[in-house]
Symmetry: C2
Subunit: 238 residues, 2 copies
């Protein structure tokens, strides 16, 4: 056996590239807390969260073509979190996963990829028609549609995508009340007949999912599960 | 005029020494979001949060005499947040302010001191008798009582402090529902006759404050206001 440095800590730390938007970041933290069985503070998961709402808009860059590229700031935050002690990264923003490859190249720790994890979960469940509730930027970049088609899964869009986009912008303004929840519930109901399952593929919509009365998978919940699983595995096992 | 380096950013970043407990940290973030008027993500405040529930128990160290000193880990997190880009620090845990001097010495950025800010707010309001809802560690260290007495303000304790301590431990186990809220409401009611105002001086109790029907000041809310004020002031003004 070779000599090993004394381990300072055996728990693993997850770094969160957050603030896109801040509500969704807090929602992920809340879900991680709720999914962790605890008796006292010490049983909870150690997170380092950069909630950086100043990251340039992904929507403006990808679909409106009007804003600066968020890549440099995303890469800076990723490297900052690794330096601060993160053993893996998570991004509670589906649209930002359009930049996942640049983020992966900037660090030497794994990215708990919300899009890949969600696609794998739905593929494992045997569903073949997914109704996707997501930003227009996610549709335009085919972030989910490409990954689903590799598993033979069809991606269906809402009849009026502009309504979904309006709701996402409303949540970013802080409008997360019952009317927003009910509006998302109506859109979900309209799509339910054509799909085996709905997918919430935008973390702003996760924040207002309480009004959805049909079966759905929430990508933010899939990510929270992955954070808890990663953190609770011992740092010194593979 | 002397040459100045190009400012990379004019907004100020607040570092949160969190995880004591994680629920209270999320609650502070939620309050900061709610207090910030926004139209889009970019208007929100940039936070770097180390939610580190592995920091040794302040209660075990200060009152049970059974645990390790949390100072080294608090100081490490403070320095880590400054290195990551924080322009000021905040700690959403009143009890941890017993270690505030050590934290201040470890960094060259200001600490938005929740205890001092709360005492100043109550002193400015002219109240002279404060009913303090806090951990037994806060009472034993006279963290608030000493600061209040400098302003001629008397600090009153609950008739059955052990009930308050039970509630704090319940929140740390994740028990934040209506029964816990109602129990805190009853304790508050019992104290209301003897005090001009109640003070929630424990961020776990802030999480379950919804059942309190008498006037109170919440230290976590005072801290959230200070975070918003600090972050919205331009980095290059004094």
């Amino acid at each position: 056996m070779s000599a090993q440095p004394e381990p300072k800590s055996t728990h693993r730390v997850v770094g969160i590239i957050g603030g896109m938007g801040p509500e969704a970041t807090v929602d992920l933290m809340r879900r991680v807390i709720a999914k962790t069985p605890v008796r006292d503070d010490q049983d909870h998961i150690h997170l380092i969260v950069e909630s950086n709402p100043k990251i340039p808009s992904r929507i403006a860059h990808l679909i409106e073509g009007s804003g600066p590229d968020p890549t440099p700031e995303l890469v800076r935050v990723a490297a900052n979190l690794q330096r601060a002690g993160a053993d893996a990264l998570a991004i509670p923003c589906n649209t930002a996963h359009a930049y996942a490859d640049s983020i992966r190249r900037a660090v030497s720790i794994p990215l708990l990829d919300m899009v890949s994890l969600t696609v794998m979960e739905i593929a494992a469940s045997g569903r073949t028609r997914v109704g996707l509730l997501a930003s227009t930027a996610v549709h335009n970049t085919a972030l989910y549609a490409t990954a689903f088609s590799a598993h033979g899964i069809a991606t269906l869009l809402p009849p009026r995508q502009e309504q979904v986009m309006e709701l996402i912008k409303a949540v970013k303004r802080g409008d997360t009340g019952v009317p927003a929840q009910a509006a998302l519930g109506r859109i979900a109901l309209e799509m339910a007949d054509r799909a085996d399952v709905l997918l919430i593929g935008c973390s702003e919509l996760s924040v207002i999912s309480a009004g959805i009365a049909v079966p759905f998978v929430d990508s933010l919940d899939v990510l929270a599960d992955a954070v808890v699983r990663f953190a609770n595995r011992d740092r010194y096992t593979v």
